[in-house]
Assembly symmetry: D2
Amino acid sequence: MDKLTRFGVSLEKELLSKFDLHIKKQNCPARSKAIADLIRKELVKSEWDKGKTVVAAITLVYDHHKKDLISKLIDIQHDTHGLIISSQHIHLDHNNCFEIIIVKGAPQKIKSLADKLKSVKGVKHSSLNAATTGKGI
Amino acid sequence: MDKLTRFGVSLEKELLSKFDLHIKKQNCPARSKAIADLIRKELVKSEWDKGKTVVAAITLVYDHHKKDLISKLIDIQHDTHGLIISSQHIHLDHNNCFEIIIVKGAPQKIKSLADKLKSVKGVKHSSLNAATTGKGI
Amino acid sequence: MDKLTRFGVSLEKELLSKFDLHIKKQNCPARSKAIADLIRKELVKSEWDKGKTVVAAITLVYDHHKKDLISKLIDIQHDTHGLIISSQHIHLDHNNCFEIIIVKGAPQKIKSLADKLKSVKGVKHSSLNAATTGKGI
Amino acid sequence: MDKLTRFGVSLEKELLSKFDLHIKKQNCPARSKAIADLIRKELVKSEWDKGKTVVAAITLVYDHHKKDLISKLIDIQHDTHGLIISSQHIHLDHNNCFEIIIVKGAPQKIKSLADKLKSVKGVKHSSLNAATTGKGI
């Protein structure tokens, strides 16, 4: 666990009381935690802009009855196996599947993988969800 | 599988050729697939606005050494077990964990669960990633 | 001008030094200013969610040669004149115009106005850009 | 005005009827207009990613009583005068101002200008709103 450091912040009184009210409504236990969360969110965005190693979850919703869909998705994943940590599959109903693929690597490679998966016929929805390795933040 | 229907679209010539170039670069196999993707993305956004049943992936990055963190995360998940389909856990390094929780239900309930998880001390990053049940789209 | 208040924040050492580096690169003059900015951004988002009075800029890019476009845009704006503070017009080239409409009011009304303007034939691009009245933040 | 071209699109029946309902609610006059809007939105995003010449509106909310704020904002704008087309100023209340600066140029330069303006002490909120020159789309 990292060492804590303490520092002072100057803020308009009214702004601070609004923020305190806001984080109370969100069940946030402490002001320092709320501020640290805002800071981390900002830094994670910048990890992605700078091309550092990041973690992400790619989600896919697809109709598994579409011809060749499953084999194409697997082919694409095998071609980029270095990026993929694991994947998970949910049967939403008779036709629809929800798949989550967890990846770690350079943002550009992750985006390109997400584009390829999205372009397979039968994939109805996909999203690329930025996260972080958590290192140093 | 749904029945296909065919209809005509009028578009500026230059706009269409730019779009064709754009989808070619994204490896999209066909214009109809590309247009259907844009339409589905728009409809999924509106499912969330209207409070329909949706699917989502909540991601968490946390330091599992933080006291009581794991038990708090589990408590919160059990309190809302009806929403949660499954969860998956990745050990990123000695300290950092990446957890993906797949949920299905009303957008407001999903957002509230994501807020609660995010507010636990030790959670460094979280995101709520909108997807869809895939029904009728 | 609001009175300043000073309070202490506890943060992981490494997180703080990363944040300091980040704000230095963005030319931010002081840590308190950077933290206040993150807090205000968060509060402005919540003003929009809660339906409080907000300020926004609606941008439109359109081809002014399209029949009836200008008169339709003006009609829509007059129907909701209470919302609109002012508008500004830029001639981008022979065909294309860029118009910025500044509005103040309830988020739902602003969104509905933006939808109406966007739906006029000849409008090529539009965006609704959330800001704030600045009151109390 | 550009020449129109007509082409056929194949879509699942249920998806199309959902889309028709969706655009009716948004007062969109025709299916072709709705599809063209989605395509343009996608292309404008890609103009920004590729670094093409774009148009944008930078909004600022600030307290004009803050010392040196006005002169700093003007200095920054003069340093990058080639980018700026015009600006507009609204007096929101006794303290708060809303300023909209319309810019045209390379995305990176526009982002850097927006960062500089945002970092001036007294600026409470800022946003960078992507639009397009409208050329060829």
